[in-house]
């Protein structure tokens, strides 16, 4: 029951509870005897009922009763009346157990099981639920069971929606009711039931509704949860999309056998050294997907057959779904100039983790130029010793700017078909932004600031393909900086968000990205080519992000940040040189993503905190940040 303080037990209570335990032990012993000997007599079954009334959490007793019911139902003289009476007995026992503890998982589950037998009236269940939900309108067991009953009864979502609404009107601090509302609406969206056909009609009304709760009491969290769900519904497109790829559409890839390439017509963004005679093709989706394989993604080129391609998901959890997929395309070791066409999703099979099919087939093509290895320079390559020292970097010159402009536009894939249909999303977000600016002018409210930051970020992300810049990034960064001060408990969460927005800002325009691109030139090296290093050092980053724009990076300097995790770095398949010097990585587990970086040759992890703590907190840390996200 909510809102009732716990009282310390009095001595007489303790005496009573030990007497109860005594009795319970006796009952239990006897019960186990019956259970093990498969005795299902009337007395034995009644004993289990007695046990369950005292302790509804006794799973074994519930299972015993299930066996007993099966036993009775299989008796030769079984008739509809006796079935009904047996099952009615079960319902009665469950009800008594629930009276004892209406949050007993075992009891609610047993009730479902009895009803699934199909001999009991489901109408009684709603009446029972009304009683329980009146006693505690926020009991999620009851709400769960209610969904089951409503579904069995084929009660319309609209009726249930009305019920949840009534409960919300009684007391809007009710997570369960808001949650049920979101579940019901999702079901209606999916069914495309009349009136719920369009999210664009329903969501603005829902926003209006939740504003009433949020403005009335911004300190109440349940409303914010529902708002977060609405925001998610507004922003997320159902169907997964290809966000970016490497190589980019229309790009030229130069594969060289050694560290040098001549032919200055090629951008350093797409020149690649390859020892293995192959190069990766990376697909970066906007959400985790599964089903990427040689039948859903076809690669046409003159020198290789599609069937050989093996698509591999890149995710930390080794699951068969991921945002990033990679395949290695073998190239002949001779001079070659060839066009490669990659078609994604022309045959169905790519499915998002939410179950939506990739339904916007796309195609990109690029040219491959192979420059075979020159034997005599291979020694230089082996002896090479890259050192990321300050004096080795030069600001990336303007001489190649032309080619970079082209390259920059190739970094992401524009999905025109999606954006045309989403005017309402813009309108909804713009309205929300205005609304929460107003709220913040009234009250200083942490969760209001966080929501505004999320809204602005979502708006920017949505408008980026048109505006080519992130209009609100400064404001978002300020909000997160503010939150770090206001709410130190969740500092790390805000810091992570801040880092990601900062990275998005850095990668949002050619100009800002160029400020972080440096030409590496080691005076000691005999190499005549100067690789590009992306330097994201000294940015106080606690997390990495914006990977979809960074798939091309081969040399990355992340030194002097506050990284505790490098989650997502596995997307950067071309990385050959990485500095993580002076960060806050605490364990080797935190380096897990590096295992997927097959091209990585140079790694600097000096000055971290690996081994500082005897307990590896990496995974716990990342779970915590997920929890924070939920809690906020």
């Amino acid at each position: 029951m909510h809102g009732r303080p716990r009282k310390a037990p009095k001595p007489e209570d303790e005496a009573a509870s030990s007497a109860k335990a005594q009795k319970l032990r006796a009952l239990q012993t006897q019960f186990f005897t019956f259970h093990h000997n498969k005795i299902y007599t009337k007395e034995a079954v009644e004993l289990s009922a007695k046990l369950l009334e005292i302790n509804p959490e006794s799973y074994t007793a519930w299972n015993y009763r299930k066996l007993a019911v099966e036993h009775y139902l299989n008796l030769p003289d079984c008739n509809p009346d006796s079935i009904k009476s047996v099952l009615d007995d079960e319902l009665r026992v469950v009800e008594n157990a629930l009276r004892q503890n209406f949050k007993s998982y075992g009891a609610w589950h047993h009730r479902k099981w009895v009803l699934s037998k199909g001999h009991s009236s489901i109408d009684n269940e709603l009446r029972l639920l009304d009683k329980f939900q009146k006693a505690d309108s926020r009991n999620f067991h009851a709400w769960n069971y209610r969904r089951y009953v409503a579904e069995s009864m084929k009660r319309s979502e609209q009726d249930e929606l009305k019920y949840a609404e009534d409960m919300i009107y009684t007391n809007f601090s009710n997570y369960s009711a808001w949650h049920n509302r979101s579940v019901l609406l999702s079901a209606l969206f999916e069914k495309k039931a009349g009136g719920f056909l369009l999210k664009e009609k329903v969501l603005p009304e829902e926003y209006e509704f939740i504003h009433q709760a949020i403005f009335t009491d911004p300190d109440d969290q349940s409303g914010w949860f529902y708002h977060l769900w609405l925001l998610d519904q507004t922003v997320t497109t159902d169907s997964p999309l290809l966000a970016s790829s490497w190589p980019g559409h229309g790009s030229d890839v130069l594969l060289v056998g050694d560290r040098c390439y001549n032919g200055s017509a090629f951008s350093p963004f797409s020149a690649l050294h390859s020892d293995s005679g192959s190069f990766p093709i990376v697909l970066y989706f906007n959400q985790p997907v599964g089903g990427v394989n040689s039948s859903t993604v076809t690669v046409e080129c003159g020198f290789n057959k599609n069937e050989d391609l093996f698509w591999k998901p890149l995710s930390a959890s080794n699951s068969q779904t991921a945002r990033v997929w990679v395949a290695h395309l073998k190239v002949p070791s001779s001079d070659l100039h060839s066009t490669v066409e990659v078609s994604v999703g022309h045959s169905k099979g790519i499915i998002s983790t939410r179950g939506f099919v990739y339904s916007h087939p796309s195609m990109f093509s690029f040219k491959v130029h192979v420059q075979p290895m020159e034997r005599d320079s291979s020694q230089v390559s082996v002896a090479e010793n890259i050192s990321l020292r300050e004096e080795n970097f030069k600001v990336y010159g303007t001489q190649s700017e032309e080619s970079i402009i082209d390259s920059f536009d190739q970094l992401i894939i524009k999905n025109g078909h999606e954006t045309t249909a989403s005017n309402w999303r813009f309108e909804a977000l713009a309205k929300e932004i205005e609304c929460f600016r107003e709220l913040l002018s009234l009250v200083d409210c942490k969760i209001g600031k966080l929501t505004l930051a999320r809204l602005l970020k979502a708006y920017d992300a949505m408008s980026y393909p048109f505006a080519n810049k992130l209009v609100h990034s400064e404001e978002v960064l300020e909000l997160y900086s503010d939150l770090m001060k206001l709410d130190p408990t969740h500092y790390q969460f805000y810091k992570d968000e801040h880092s990601i927005v900062l990275l998005q800002k850095v990668t949002s325009s050619k100009e800002s990205l160029l400020q972080h691109c440096f030409q590496y030139k080691d005076s000691a090296s005999s190499a005549i080519c100067d690789p590009i290093c992306l330097r994201l050092n000294n940015l106080s980053l606690s997390r990495m992000g914006a990977f979809e724009k960074l798939l091309w990076v081969q040399m990355l300097d992340l030194s002097h940040n506050e990284l505790q995790s490098i989650e997502g770095l596995e997307a950067m398949q071309l990385l050959s040189c990485l500095s993580l010097r002076n960060n806050k990585l605490r364990s080797l587990t935190a380096l897990e993503p590096l295992r997927k970086l097959k091209s990585l040759r140079i790694l600097d992890i000096s000055y971290n905190q690996i081994g500082d703590q005897s307990i590896d907190t990496t995974s716990i840390g990342s779970r915590n940040s997920k929890m924070n996200q939920k809690l906020l």
Binding site: Y169, T170, Q212, T216, C435
Partner: protein, 566 residues
């Protein structure tokens, strides 16, 4: 009351206390004194309990009002020739009601069922679920004699006939359709501030300086928009006078008092599980309350005699001290103390000089009414003012109906489920403080014209218009009145008036002396102030006694053997 039946003599003839009149203050004092083991005789000239606090059948209300509207008759006979050692001081009645105006638009229906109505003389009145009267009822066990139902909502009215629900709780603010988001936020924050202050949270304490400043200034300081300010001042704190016009405001609320009112309101909501709103109303009408205390007194040994007028005060010839009263039956009854209904006043025989001690006390007898008057109206309709809801309060804040309106007008609609009228009918109680009768009539009429269709046929329009005490001149049958609703301003059908009583009531204060007078019903919505005054009177007459000591609960008696009716 003209033909008084012969009375059996009262025995004993000496009491600690004689209480005349069974209005609420008198009844509470009778009960408290009996509880304190005093011998009490409780008399009432009326055949019913409650006096000015009673609930009366429809036909009896006009006669009760008019019997208290006449000027006192001159002393019937000089009393100096009394044979014994007492001087007699005649009782006279005081005119307490004026401009009584009864209009009947459906005589057939209402006359036949007069007894089905229980009309409060002192309406509109409700109990806050957490107020002093409820505490007193519970503490004394008197609640066993009464049953209550919830008054479901409070609305604020405007001059277009709209009724806006008052967002008086978190859930109500959330649900409200008329407030904007910013207004909701400001109002809820204000409520939280008040709650925090009341809960003694350190960081949200309202400063002493603010507490002593006018409440309206504090609300302004909190940046509350006019609409919300009006809700808080008049529909929650129940202020009577325009708080923003110090020229006319006679009850300028301090922040402290305003917060206390909010606390009372807040504690009232949700106090009882089956009461959805902040208020309660007793089944069978407000008269039940006085009667319940009489029953409580009777259980404790108080002696009750109804239909017993008192003719004169017995005063010691030599000392001038009060000795007792002479009843209409001719019997003399003696007591140490006397409590007097505000109906009565003592007149001195002309020419004779009063006994010295009494003379000194005399100023106390002149119950001055510098508080002005209260205009009251009772209307009966066959449809609710608002569909789907039957028992509710409506507040018209100052200047909401017309510019010269300086006081709040309150309206209480009570339906037949509270056993105050015929099934399917509704009783509307309206009241407003005023300076004089004309002003009062204007206030009551303003509400009636906004909310009701007053039948104005050529044959029956005299009553409401002429503001005289004409009774029954309106003749109209039921069928024609439902069709005579006519087009109203708002386009919606307004309830049609079946019957109305309008009157002004004097606001006399209680007086404390060796003979004490109780106050008339005040202009408040609840009984809090009256209970405070009653408590003071009790303390005055029995300074050493506790007012309903806690132990009185230990002996909760049934009402079997000693009901007040005996």
């Amino acid at each position: 009351m003209d033909d008084i039946p012969p009375y059996p003599p009262i025995d004993p003839t000496t009491f600690d206390l004689i209480v005349i009149g069974t209005g609420l203050p008198e009844s509470i004092i009778a009960a408290a004194s009996s509880t304190a083991s005093k011998s009490v005789l409780h008399l009432d000239p009326n055949p019913f309990y409650g006096s000015h606090f009673s609930s009366l059948p429809l036909a009896d209300l006009p006669s009760f009002l008019s019997s208290h509207s006449t000027s006192p008759s001159p002393p019937r006979s000089p009393s100096s020739d009394d044979p014994n050692e007492f001087s007699l001081l005649e009782f006279a009645t005081r005119p307490l009601y004026s401009s009584i105006d009864i209009s009947t638009f459906s005589p057939n229906l209402l006359d036949q069922h007069s007894r089905k109505f229980n009309l409060d003389v002192a309406g509109p009145r409700v109990f806050f679920c957490a107020d002093k009267s409820i505490e007193l009822l519970l503490r004394t066990g008197t609640n066993q004699y009464m049953e209550f139902k919830s008054v479901d909502a409070t609305f604020v009215g405007d001059n277009k006939g709209n009724l806006w629900s008052v967002p008086d709780s978190r859930a109500a603010i959330f649900k409200d359709k008329s407030l904007g988001l910013v207004e909701k936020n400001k109002l809820m924050r204000f409520f939280k501030l008040v709650q925090g202050h009341l809960a003694g949270e350190q960081d949200i304490k309202i400063s002493e300086e603010d507490l002593q400043s006018p409440f309206v200034d504090f609300l302004n300081k909190m940046g509350l928009p006019p609409k919300i300010k009006s809700f808080i001042l008049y529909a929650i704190a129940m202020a009577d006078y325009d708080q923003e016009d110090t020229g006319v405001c006679r009850d300028l609320l301090k922040t402290k008092d305003g917060i206390d009112q909010l606390a009372l309101y807040n504690a009232s909501i949700g106090r009882f599980q089956n009461a959805s709103g902040a208020f309660l109303y007793p089944i069978y009408g407000q008269g039940e309350l006085s009667q319940a205390f009489c029953r409580r007194a009777a259980v404790k040994g108080c002696l009750y005699v109804l239909r017993m007028p008192v003719t004169a005060l017995l005063v010691d010839k030599d000392t001038g001290c009060y000795k007792g009263v002479r009843l209409a039956s001719g019997q003399d009854i003696f007591s140490q103390k006397l409590i007097l209904d505000p109906t009565f006043k003592v007149t001195l025989p002309s020419g004779s000089s009063p006994p010295l001690p009494l003379k000194e006390k005399l100023p106390f007898f002149s119950l001055k009414d510098d508080k002005g008057k209260i205009a009251r109206g009772i209307c009966i309709t066959k449809t609710s003012l608002k569909p789907d809801i039957s028992n509710f309060l409506v507040v018209y804040p100052p200047r909401s109906l017309f510019p010269e309106q300086v006081t709040s007008i309150r309206l209480l609609q009570i339906a037949s489920n509270l056993a105050v009228c015929l099934p399917g009918m509704f009783v509307l109680y309206i009241s407003a403080l005023c300076n004089d009768d004309d002003q009062g009539k204007k206030l009551i009429h303003a509400v009636m014209n906004t909310l009701l269709t007053v039948p104005l046929d050529s044959e029956s329009n005299a009553a409401v218009q002429s503001e005289t005490a004409e009774n029954g001149s309106a003749v109209q049958d039921e069928t024609s009145e439902s069709s005579s609703g006519g087009p109203s301003d708002s386009g919606e059908e307004k309830p049609t008036l079946l019957w109305s009583a309008l009157y002004s009531q004097e606001l006399t204060l209680g007086q404390v002396d060796f003979i004490c007078s109780t106050p008339m019903p005040d202009g408040k919505l609840n009984y809090n102030d009256l209970i405070d005054t009653t408590f003071k009177i009790f303390q005055e007459i029995y300074p050493g006694e506790e007012f309903f000591p806690e132990t009185s609960l230990e002996n909760p008696e049934g009402d079997g053997d000693a009901s007040p009716e005996t």
